[in-house]
């Protein structure tokens, strides 16, 4: 299943076809001398040293934010280190209740938008992908080309009329403007991801089902969907992260503090605080990053496959 998600099939074919004649060279490599392997080892050590240094530099700001959120406020401006003398939880308690609602309220709002978006993307994108990957229909290539183009369309080109449309329906300060587009497969990235995946599923399976009298809805639900679970998982994880982090959409459509999702709540927090309460601001920032971090820990496999396949960020 996993190999199907790999890219560049054309080159793959070429390399596997041309690999045979090189076989005779293999023993040559394993005949490395002692001096060679020692040089190789120092080279490896240097590599690791560079990587550890670079990695530490990358992660340091995040670690420092975690540590600082557990420190008394005044230390945030004085201590660049990671050593904690005591655990200060007061930043978390004061941050949690710093806005109109407890922070959990905004997390629930975000969760509603996230769940709606995930369901929307899973249903609508998989349906469109099935049509593109398996069915023949008029103007298929045209539509497929348009679909690929919409992946690259900047959001700003449609945001003004979209806002006008949704405000006329009375959807400003509801979650609908953030969820409904997903129900309509506007995240074309995922359509493309799923098309790629379905193409890797053997067509014989569909044909066997068709001979047994199954129609397209049945083939889709009973044959294709169960086999494309990895693609659905990738879609779920990316939709989760993007929706959870989405600031622009929420900024435009959600102006009532009751409806704030986490990113706009954090923004309101930044604006309402003087520069002295970084501790509680950090604390709530950590809380807001925690779900993404957990998804990263448990869904990394799918994330990396998904990126390597389609180049989505």
């Amino acid at each position: 299943m996993t190999t199907k998600l790999e890219t560049l099939p054309a080159r793959d074919k070429k390399s596997s076809g041309a690999r045979k004649p090189t076989n005779h060279r293999k023993p040559r490599e394993s005949r490395g001398t002692l001096a060679f392997s020692r040089a190789q080892r120092t080279k490896g050590l240097i590599k690791h040293a560079i990587l550890i240094l670079a990695g530490a530099l990358m992660i340091y700001p995040l670690l420092w934010m975690v540590v600082s959120s557990l420190r008394p406020n005044e230390l945030i401006f004085r201590d660049p280190g990671l050593w904690l003398n005591s655990l200060e939880m007061s930043n978390y308690t004061s941050g949690w209740s710093a806005l109109t609602h407890p922070f959990g309220h905004y997390m629930i709002n975000s969760a509603i938008v996230v769940i709606g978006s995930i369901l929307g993307n899973l249903i609508s994108c998989s349906m469109a992908a099935y049509a593109f990957a398996r069915l023949q229909f008029t103007a298929k290539k045209l539509f497929f080309g348009i679909m690929l183009l919409t992946i690259m369309l900047p959001f700003h080109v449609v945001i003004v009329p979209q806002y006008i449309l949704f405000s006329q329906i009375g959807w400003v300060n509801t979650f609908w403007p953030l969820i409904v587009p997903k129900l309509l497969a506007t995240d074309a990235f995922f359509v493309f991801l799923m098309v790629q995946f379905i193409r890797g599923i053997p067509k014989e399976l569909d044909e066997a089902a068709r001979i047994d009298g199954a129609g397209h809805p049945r083939i889709f639900l009973r044959v294709i969907l169960p086999l494309m679970v990895p693609a659905l998982a990738t879609t779920t994880i990316f939709t989760f992260i993007w929706t959870w982090n989405d600031f622009f959409g929420a900024l435009i459509y959600l102006t009532d503090p009751d409806m704030f999702t986490v990113p706009v709540a954090l923004r309101a927090f930044v604006d309402s605080q003087s520069a002295t309460s970084w501790g509680s601001l950090f604390a709530m920032s950590i809380v807001s990053l925690l779900p993404v971090f957990l998804v990263f820990l448990f869904g990394q496999r799918f994330l990396i496959k998904g990126i390597a396949t389609t180049g989505i960020k």
């Binding site: 990358m58 183009l149 700003h156």
Partner: protein, 314 residues
Amino acid sequence: MSAISELSSITRRKGKVTPEEKKANRRDNKAAYIFLLPWLVGLVAITIGPMLMSLYLSFTDYNLLQPPEWTGLHNFTRMLSDARLHNSLRVTFTYVLIGVPLQLGVALLIALVLDKGLRGLPFYRSVFYLPSLLGGSVAVAILWKQIFGTTGLVNQVLAMFGIQGPGWISDPSTALGSIILLHVWTFGAPMIIFLAGLRQIPNMYYEAAKVDGATTLQQFWRITLPMLSPIIFFNLVLQIIGSFQSFTQAFIVSGGNGGPSDSTMFFTLYLYQKGFGQFDMGYASAMAWVLLLIIGVFTAINFIASKYWVFYDD
């Protein structure tokens, strides 16, 4: 990789319909359009409809309260004399033209070091990838605001060496730089695409080069770079398109006003201020189309230039 190569292959294959396909056409049309229905509705109502509408609005004066009033090219001529808009273009171009190559350069460098069955690869990959997942969030933008503040982490570290750092984000000459650095920090996603690409290069090329006595550097220039060029091109196209639309970081770091003295006023930020701050929807729509045009031109240049440096071996 494939989104772009598919797009070009569609234009190449255009018009050839086999009799087999014709027969199948009759069979699936109804089912296909039912499966496509949500996407088609979305395409019309959420994408193409609003696009045309915003094209229309760009020729009008519209503030949401009164009906749009046709003003012809007025919004576009206004742009010609809008100094803040010119500045926002300069800021955005600087961000894209410095941030994207820098980010891709770092991504490629780390991917090259990580390639070749290095021990602990999954661990390193995770460490380098994590920032790109979190980098788009408001939380990280808040962190950046403190790190590069007058008493922030960077200046605390500099103080240990007796250096008095400037207020990076409150100084107009360094504010944009700190946001570019945030972009570079999120190099993990392109790095993973590079890693996937590197793994596709057949080992026999390197073995043959070694036999011929090629140095590591020669191998990089003559094998790795040409073989990887389609992936570099793909990353370049996507990152440029994405970076032109960058918004959140500049918004949060500058407190929403693009300051200090408009030094972080991205084009998208100015568009937001015009449209949703001053409700000058006509002007904002015109700006959105200019943005689309700029992105289109950059992508076209990218594709044309790619003929001279991107190497396809098939």
